[in-house]
């Protein structure tokens, strides 16, 4: 037993305890042969030392209390506010709130493994589970329901250095386990996920019949096929703010003319010829202007034939890391946009029987999972991004077609609020910025809001997990990664400087000193 209920009101109940219990901790009480799970919210001392008794640093307040006639033990009790989560109903598969608070005098116990195990919807290690860590301060493992995170998306939000990429790494590891074998793609703007390549060679992921594959696509190998661009994409690439309406109209005419031809694929040259075909005496300079801007499509990232090979990128039991580091942000958005557009088309077409096995690179008969790092760049709250529209479409409709998205960001306030609120499972780590906290509070379920105040004080690797993939929000210590995480770690700058200095000293050519005899001056 850790405490006794004192009183209750509409916000929950309070109990008295002599133990120091962390906010967010789970406790329970017995009611009609059921164990009712509850969550500790705030703590405050039941009785405070008179402030005068604390004014001599040489004296122990307990000694002064005893001298005066207070029982020092009276100051060791805490009043905890707590809220009822409920009892787990096996038939319903969820916690049912009894809609009553415990009566005064009811004993409060530490929630044991037998109660805490019900926080997870799935058993860690089972098919469809993602063992993400342990209930903070407990041994009970927490597993997310992969089915729910793939169908209803997930967000990983944390300040820099709080363990965001590490957590994504853990999630990816779980998705690639033999009991999941998910097709996962990471859109990696910083090239920081290459360490996940170890998955293929780590014993925990390999069975006699399964070895996950990790494919890293380097920036130079990422190509956008001209034919995959929409007219709006073309214009956004070419328009530096000086493209006239007449130019845009003529370009659209050429583009749609080509698209409406029976030939579905076209090249830059064909498009250029189509633009030229519109030339007459009234639009000479306009066509010249379009042609001049068309030169931007000669960037190395564009190709007439090569594209993002969906079927190669999304294979069961394969992690594809699209390393777009070093690519200009506008092009990163374009790559994301084209990739997501093609993915949505493939999944929607396959589900609706428009595409069959014969449709190479369009037939995708299984759900997939896409992780978007730095999501605020691809779906910003203010301003436009080429990828924002398709990302929002997938987040709102992807459930029907089996496209799961994981939005990863360190600035939730800069991430489109609609997109964030579509992520029905949230992994939220340390966030200090109040605006970001507010944004999170608006996008998560009410039960988790009690834990929002904990966000600034979370340690590295601790997270609040809430949403549909778990039965009740919980503070979780993210488990240790099975693969190394050297890339995502903060650099130990002083150590690196010292090493560099040592290297330079070792390899420095001996200085040529002037011969003193020669130094006769002028």
């Amino acid at each position: 037993m850790i405490g006794i209920v004192n009183n209750s009101d509409e916000d929950g109940f309070t109990f008295i305890s002599q133990e120091r219990l962390p906010a967010g901790m789970f406790a329970c009480y017995h009611e009609a042969d059921r164990k009712i799970l509850c969550r500790v919210k705030n703590a405050e001392p039941l009785k405070q030392y008179p402030q005068e008794f604390l004014m001599d640093m040489e004296l122990s307040p307990d000694d002064v209390c005893a001298f005066y006639g207070f029982d020092p033990q009276d100051f060791k009790y805490y009043s905890y506010s707590a809220s009822v989560v409920g009892y787990f109903d096996d038939a319903m598969g969820e916690f049912i709130n009894p809609r009553t608070n415990p009566a005064s005098g009811v004993k409060i116990h530490r929630a044991g493994e037998d109660v805490l195990k019900d926080i997870s919807k799935v058993k860690p290690g089972d098919s469809g589970s993602a063992f993400i860590g342990n209930v903070l301060g407990e041994k009970t493992g927490i597993a997310l329901s992969v089915r729910d995170i793939v169908s209803q998306h997930v967000s990983v939000i944390a300040s820099t250095g709080a363990g965001k990429s590490y957590t994504v790494g853990v999630l990816v590891e779980e998705l690639l386990r033999p009991y999941n074998m998910a097709p996962v793609l990471i859109f990696d703007p910083h090239g920081e996920y290459s360490s996940l390549g170890d998955i293929s060679n780590t014993a925990e992921f390999v069975t006699t019949s399964y070895r996950p594959k990790v494919r890293t696509v380097k920036p130079k190998d990422i190509k956008i096929r001209i034919n995959d661009l929409l007219v709006g994409d073309f214009i956004s690439i070419m328009d530096d703010g000086t493209m006239s309406d007449k130019m845009k109209m003529l370009f659209r005419t050429a583009y749609h003319g080509l698209k409406n031809d029976k030939k579905k694929q076209f090249t830059r040259n064909e498009l250029k010829l189509r633009i030229e075909s519109l030339r007459d005496s009234n639009n000479e300079s306009t066509i010249d202007g379009i042609n001049w801007r068309f030169g931007k499509l000669n960037a190395a990232i564009f190709d007439d034939f090569q594209t993002i090979p969906l079927a190669d990128y999304f294979k069961v039991g394969q992690l594809t890391i699209m390393d777009v580091s070093g690519i200009e942000e506008g092009f990163q958005q374009l790559i994301a946009s084209v990739m997501l557009r093609r993915l949505f088309d493939a999944r929607e077409g396959t589900e609706n029987n428009r595409y069959y096995e014969m449709h190479i690179d369009k037939f995708l008969p299984y759900p997939v999972f896409v992780i978007i790092e730095e999501a605020h760049r691809f779906a910003p709250q203010s301003g436009e991004a080429k990828s924002k529209s398709i990302l929002k479409t997938i987040l709102s409709e992807g459930r029907k077609f089996g496209i799961g998205v994981c939005l990863v960001s360190q600035r939730p306030s800069k991430l489109d609020a609609d997109s964030l609120s579509q992520c029905m499972t949230q992994i939220t780590m340390r966030i200090i910025n109040p605006t970001d906290q507010q944004q999170i509070a608006q996008s998560i379920e009410s039960a988790s809001r009690e834990l929002i105040s904990e966000l600034p004080s979370l340690a590295k690797g601790q997270a609040i997990i809430s949403g549909v993939a778990i039965n009740t929000p919980a503070l979780v210590k993210i488990r240790k990664r099975l693969t190394s995480d050297t890339k995502g770690r903060s650099k130990d700058a002083p150590a690196l400087w010292a090493a560099q200095r040592k290297y330079e000293d070792k390899h420095r050519a001996p200085e040529v000193k002037a011969d003193e005899d020669m130094d006769v001056g002028v």
Partner: protein
Amino acid sequence: MVIGDIIRVEDASTYVAKIPPDAKKERIGSFIKIQKDDGLIVGVIKNITNSIREDLIPYISSELQPKYAPFNEDFRNSYYFIHGLGTIRNGIVEYNIDSPPDVRDNVEILNPEELKFFHTIDGKQSIAYFHSNSEALPQNVLIAMIDQVDEKCPECKAMSKLVRKYIRRDL
């Protein structure tokens, strides 16, 4: 030295003592003792009063005077209101009183050794009765008591300094 004798016991820790005629009055807050067969009752002078309205006595008929003026023979006397704090029995200090004094028991000033002994529990300086008596005793009495403890038990000066601050703020 006897400073008075108990003339009324209201409850286990509230007594009135009559001060002998022409006797020097002790100060409010002074620690006193009442000697009993099995030990001492330790108390404090809570107040001094002339509460008997001697000036009205001439107006009361002679047959009613015994009823309304039981102390009418000593008009000039004053009275100590005493608050009992604890006992010392067989060398053991207790900060509660289970047996009050009797009428006519003598009241004496607690000597320095007894005062020090009364404020020592398990070898440690203590004024632990303060908390339980803080509502019954006014602030000036408590301050006077702590001043005496300070004087006789200098080793607890640091703690009594904090207690004095607390009493001044809170009580």
